[in-house]
């Protein structure tokens, strides 16, 4: 039954532009949903670190941005609009970057890990800012070509939305497989009791590094989609703001679950993109929401839902 439900939701998601075509604001809703899904990919990849392995990274945008720049530059410099070329470039660059940063960062734990990831991500930001020949510096890269795949052109807004939705579903599936695998359970073991994992014979440094690289690569996919969707990459994509967005999404949605980061991403994107049209201090709202969840509802929206469900059943 669960599988059937999941398939139905997936089908509804991919066909969203079709069944909302009658709506007055279908175009706008599709764009917002598309960007929510992109942020959700980033949040899901971050949650592999935060929620599963217990590694609170505050520099995850480095890999998102690396993927975005890689896809955009591949399209520009290689002259190829092939989707696979862009995605492979994005994943490869993000993974290598994660490997390099991870070699230093995973030596620290807890708040120190958080500090180091933040600092190293800021270095990536600085490099993106200064290497203007490649990245466009503060102007960014505009007019990123949208990709084609097996004869399908993803240039139109609907086709592009469907590409994002399908890749998003793929990322959800991969995340699910990782989390329910032995490897995923070993990562959860890191979170629960790292010392015991070491005693059991696991090389915890390598385990952490591998998680960092996998999560970085997944973030890179999100970055590539962002580059295609917005047709624009800028230093914002590697900046601390994007890292915070992802972290807030994971935390207010609920860490360690698949649905939590997705809900969180939707809420964050709503606050940042839809809310500003009615109130000017959306960022303040985001900060306050975050503070409230940290202080009063650390388990996130998913945790709140579980609690109230348990209360109803009693």
């Amino acid at each position: 039954m669960f599988a059937g439900l999941a398939l139905a939701v997936a089908a509804l998601l991919v066909t969203f532009p079709a069944w909302t075509a009658e709506w007055e604001s279908s175009r706008y809703a599709t764009t917002i949903l598309r960007d929510m899904l992109v942020l959700a990919i980033l949040a899901l990849s971050l949650d592999l670190l935060v929620g599963v392995a217990g590694m609170p990274s505050l520099g995850h945008a480095a890999f998102f941005g690396a993927g975005a720049y890689a896809a955009a530059i591949a399209a520009q410099r290689l002259g190829s609009d092939e989707l696979l070329v862009g995605l492979v470039a994005a994943v490869a660059v993000a993974a290598v970057l994660a490997l390099v940063i991870g070699l230093f960062a995973v030596r620290a734990a807890g708040i120190f890990f958080l500090m180091l990831t933040l600092a190293f991500a800021q270095m990536v930001f600085a490099v993106a800012f200064q290497a203007a020949d490649l990245t466009g510096g503060s102007n960014g890269l505009a007019g990123v070509h949208r990709p084609t795949f097996a004869g399908i052109d993803f240039n139109g807004p609907e086709a592009l939305y469907q590409l994002v939705a399908v890749v998003f579903l793929g990322v959800v599936l991969i995340s699910w497989r990782i989390r329910s695998s032995t490897y995923g359970h070993a990562l959860a073991g890191l979170r629960e009791n790292e010392r015991r994992m070491r005693a059991l014979g696991y090389d915890t440094m390598r385990l952490k590094l591998s998680a960092f690289v996998v999560a970085g690569a997944m973030a890179g996919i999100g970055g590539a989609l962002s580059a295609y969707a917005l047709r624009f990459v800028s230093t914002n994509d590697v900046g601390i703001g994007r890292s915070i967005e992802a972290f807030v999404s994971v935390l207010i949605g609920g860490t360690g679950t698949l649905i939590g980061p997705v809900i969180g991403a939707a809420v964050v994107l709503y606050i940042e993109r839809v809310l500003p049209s009615s109130i000017p201090f959306a960022e303040t709202v985001l900060g306050l929401v975050f503070v409230i969840f940290v202080v009063a509802a650390r388990q996130g929206i998913v945790g709140l839902a579980r609690e109230s469900y348990a209360r109803v059943r009693r």
Binding site: M115, A119, Q130, F281, G287, V291, V294, V295
Partner: protein
């Protein structure tokens, strides 16, 4: 590089390091006491700078801001600690996360109030001249920053070693629980420490405002630099903040002159190297990395 230029850049580096010391000392103090890496430290710095802007715009008195701005930021810390952080005591990661939310709110409200453009204020009267050093002109204000920072370091060292508050802070850093058991009002001590650390960030904001300007995003710059300083120097000790600032300030300045393309990479390379060779930082008491 001619000797004159070298001396000038060396002074620039030292004065930047002096500013970094004021900034990082507060972060290190709060961490040493409470095990909290206060990620709102950059926002506190920003608030100090904007309070300075408001005061200078209204009254033209920079020196007034030197006292009022740290007081305002310290007061905010005095309110925030019992209101929010105290609820999460013992949950260090959550306390750190909380400070992210606080910094978002502060930075956004400042942007709303003062506008999102770059502001600047003139150098304060009396310090807006240049002086001759080794045959080159050098701005007096930067020398003032160096002197001020040394005086502050001295004052903090005296407080730390010779006063009752210093003794309490040292004891709290060693074992806060024991201090609590001995009947010291730990809650009050923590909120005062947090306020003092916040005030130091505010003070750094005042000192930096005439040189670096006042703009959205200055909070992130300050936060990153202070994090690098405490990682390099070592968390939780005053001497660590001195060592970190003394290394990072000149390194950053000379890096910008010698290889402008890689200036930022240089200080991160130093950070990575220190972490590899000395996981506690140069003079720290806590292992940051394994």
């Amino acid at each position: 590089m001619s000797p004159e230029v070298f001396v000038q850049q060396a002074l620039n580096g030292i004065s930047f390091g002096a500013l970094l010391f004021i900034l990082a000392a507060g972060l290190s103090l709060i961490f040493g006491m409470m095990d909290v890496v206060n990620l709102a430290h950059g926002a506190f710095y920003m608030l100090g700078a904007y309070v300075t802007l408001a005061i200078v715009q209204r009254t033209g008195q920079f020196y007034l801001a030197l006292f009022v701005a740290p007081a305002v930021v310290g007061l905010l810390g005095l309110i925030l600690e019992p209101l929010l952080l105290r609820r999460l005591r013992g949950r260090h990661l959550d306390q750190v996360l909380l400070t992210i939310g606080v910094s978002l709110v502060i930075a956004d409200l400042l942007g709303l109030t003062f506008g999102r453009e770059i502001h600047s204020i003139p150098l304060p009267a009396g310090l807006d001249r240049s002086t001759q050093i080794f045959g080159g002109d050098y701005p007096v204000y930067r020398l003032f920053v160096i002197g001020f920072s040394i005086a502050l370091a001295g004052a903090l060292a005296v407080i730390h070693r010779r006063t009752r508050l210093g003794a309490l802070i040292r004891a709290g850093v060693d074992d806060a629980q024991m201090l609590d058991a001995l009947g010291v009002d730990i809650d009050r001590l923590f909120s005062r420490t947090f306020a003092l650390g916040a005030a130091l960030a505010g003070l750094a904001g005042v000192i930096a405002a005439p040189v670096f300007g006042i703009f959205p995003g200055m909070d992130v710059d300050a936060l990153i630099y202070s994090l690098i300083v405490v990682v390099v120097g070592g968390l939780g000790t005053l001497s660590g903040a001195v060592a970190g600032a003394g290394l990072v300030g000149p390194a950053d300045t000379f890096g910008r002159v010698l290889f402008p393309q890689f200036a930022l990479a240089l200080i991160f390379a130093i950070m990575a190297l220190v972490l590899l060779l000395r996981p506690t930082g140069l003079l720290g008491r806590v292992r940051i990395a394994r």
